[in-house]
């Protein structure tokens, strides 16, 4: 807010959800600013509420206190200016081909004619190296290819901020490493703004330029650091409040 460059401003956000028997506080008074072209990573152990936080930015969950604003406007509901890439492989509509998945998404914006949408879809499919599979149905693709298609779909919408919820967590190590590389290459080219949630310290250091460290249940901000020169051991120390050697059964 004070900073003119901020795209996404999260201020004192507390998130709670209800189960059958409990009211659970997932995230407590979290604040951060995401600037244009940031690769902003939210890093924390499982159960720190980082996915819930991302869903709140997505507009699926509403904060009980604090505010989230995108380009100055409060976030009230899901919208196309914040597009998700999920961890799950079933995020592509199975009844549409890779290309149709993208053109369908573009079609909902009513900004493009059919031929423009086609062209744009193919352009982004090429960017993620899926040209050969543009007309394939999702079930014929490997996990890594599905995630690439989901990334292409998200980028084609040119959102103000790209929300990535551990998109590579379910992939094997080789594919994950390839996709991280590709994502960085795409970012170099297009400089989009992204908010990336992960529980992997190396991934956070590799992909982010700025890293938000969250504590366990309820998630509270422990630190916000630059990834340049960040050191995995130090991050681990901050996250878990103790020397690395003592870390044992916790995960």
């Amino acid at each position: 807010m004070k900073n003119g460059n901020s795209v996404l401003v999260v201020e004192g956000v507390t998130l709670q959800y209800r189960t059958k028997s409990h009211l659970v506080t997932a995230v407590y008074r979290v604040s951060f600013n995401v600037q244009r072209s940031d690769r902003f990573v939210i890093l924390g152990p499982s159960g720190c509420g980082k996915s819930t936080l991302l869903k709140a930015v997505g507009g699926f969950v509403h904060p009980v206190e604090g505010s989230i604003t995108l380009g100055g406007a409060p976030i009230l509901k899901p919208g196309r200016d914040r597009v998700f890439v999920f961890q799950e492989f079933d995020q592509l509509l199975p009844w549409k081909t890779v290309k149709e998945n993208i053109t369908f998404a573009l079609g909902t914006t009513e900004r493009f004619s059919r031929s423009e949408a086609d062209e744009r879809a193919l352009h982004y499919i090429r960017k993620v190296n899926l040209s050969e599979f543009a007309n394939s149905y999702p079930h014929t693709l490997s996990g890594g290819m599905k995630q690439r298609a989901a990334i292409a779909r998200a980028m084609a919408l040119e959102p103000q901020v790209l929300l990535m919820d551990e998109p590579f967590a379910a992939l094997d190590a080789l594919t994950r490493s390839n996709l991280q590389e590709e994502l960085l290459r795409l970012w170099d080219e297009m400089k989009f703004t992204m908010l990336f949630v992960t529980h992997s310290i190396p991934e956070a250091i590799r992909l982010g330029n700025r890293i938000l460290l969250l504590s366990v249940r309820p998630g509270q901000v422990k630190a916000e650091i630059n990834s340049q020169g960040a050191d995995a051991a130090r991050i681990e120390q901050i996250l878990f409040d103790r020397p690395i050697a003592e870390r044992g059964s916790h995960e």
Binding site: P78, G79, R80, F84, L93, P94, W95, F104
Partner: protein, 285 residues
């Protein structure tokens, strides 16, 4: 005592394969044709029927396949059977589509509001186990001896199984897909039609099939009980009247007609839809 094992490296070349892709032999290829397999199966079943019928030698107990076919042919020539079949099918379609419409409305309501879901679940639990034919006497009181009674009963036969399956299918659509749909900012109607319906299509198809079968059974049973409603009779009436006149080959011809329709609808319509939708989308093997 043990030496380190040597590391091994190989040159890989693709030219040395004997078989990468080999076309299937003649029989193998024929066996892959589903229609052919089923036609052969039907022929075998028909043959068993024919042989057993001939051994029995009593066409008023079990006419042979050929006798049935002859009866079928002559009933077709007199125009009696086509008329009955046409009447039944028109009625069936009316009842079926009215049932689908009602099921669609109920499920749409159920997927938008909680009250709707509760209503649908309660109604289905109450009415689904109730045989439609049990409602026929009541329908006759309400609507008289008219087509409307039969359509009422048909709707009851169709609506619950279709609604139940569609509703179950909707709730089975993954949260991820739902969130994808929501983030596109689709309207409620659009969300149902473009995300929930295709996402739940395997269950919807099952519902349609079950509903279709229920509709047939109910209609034939109703016609048997009800006889000619007003002016003309359907297939059930055809079967009933021929039984009364002790023309058993004709009874079999009527039954065979129903089975032929069953085969046609299953393979000609439902399977064709499956192939183009759920199988192509990888939602069903």
């Amino acid at each position: 005592m043990s030496e380190p094992r040597p590391e091994l490296f190989y040159n890989v070349s693709n030219s040395a394969f004997n078989v990468v892709q080999k076309p299937l032999t003649g029989w193998g290829r024929l066996y892959e044709i589903g229609v052919l397999r089923k036609v052969v199966l039907l022929a075998v079943l028909g043959l068993i029927w024919e042989i057993y019928g001939r051994r029995l030698g009593d066409e008023n107990l079990l006419p042979t396949l050929i006798q049935t076919a002859k009866a079928l042919l002559s009933s077709v020539q007199t125009g009696e059977l086509p008329k009955a079949a046409f009447y039944t099918i028109m009625l069936l379609l009316k009842g079926y589509f009215a049932g689908l419409l009602l099921a669609g409305l109920l499920t749409a309501f159920a997927s938008v509001t909680r009250v709707g879901a509760d209503l649908l679940e309660t109604l289905t639990a109450m009415f689904n186990p109730l045989p439609s034919i049990a409602l026929l006497p009541l329908a006759m009181v309400w609507f008289g001896l008219s087509e409307r009674s039969l359509i009422f009963v048909l709707i009851h036969a169709v609506v619950w199984s279709v609604a139940l399956n569609t509703h179950a299918g909707f709730s089975g659509v993954s949260p991820t897909l739902r969130m994808v749909g929501q983030s596109y900012g689709l309207s409620k109607v659009s969300f149902i039609l473009r995300i929930l319906v295709p996402g739940a299509f395997p269950s919807i198809l099952t519902g349609l099939k079950v509903g279709w079968a229920f509709a047939w059974r109910t209609l034939i049973a109703s016609e048997l009980v009800f006889g000619a409603s007003g002016r003309s009779g359907g297939l059930g009436w055809f079967i009933y009247i021929n039984k009364v006149e002790y023309l058993i080959p004709n009874v079999f011809a009527g039954l065979l007609t129903i089975m032929i329709f069953g085969l046609f609808v299953e393979y000609g319509i439902f399977r064709a839809i499956e192939k183009r939708t759920v199988q192509r989308w990888g939602m069903q093997q």
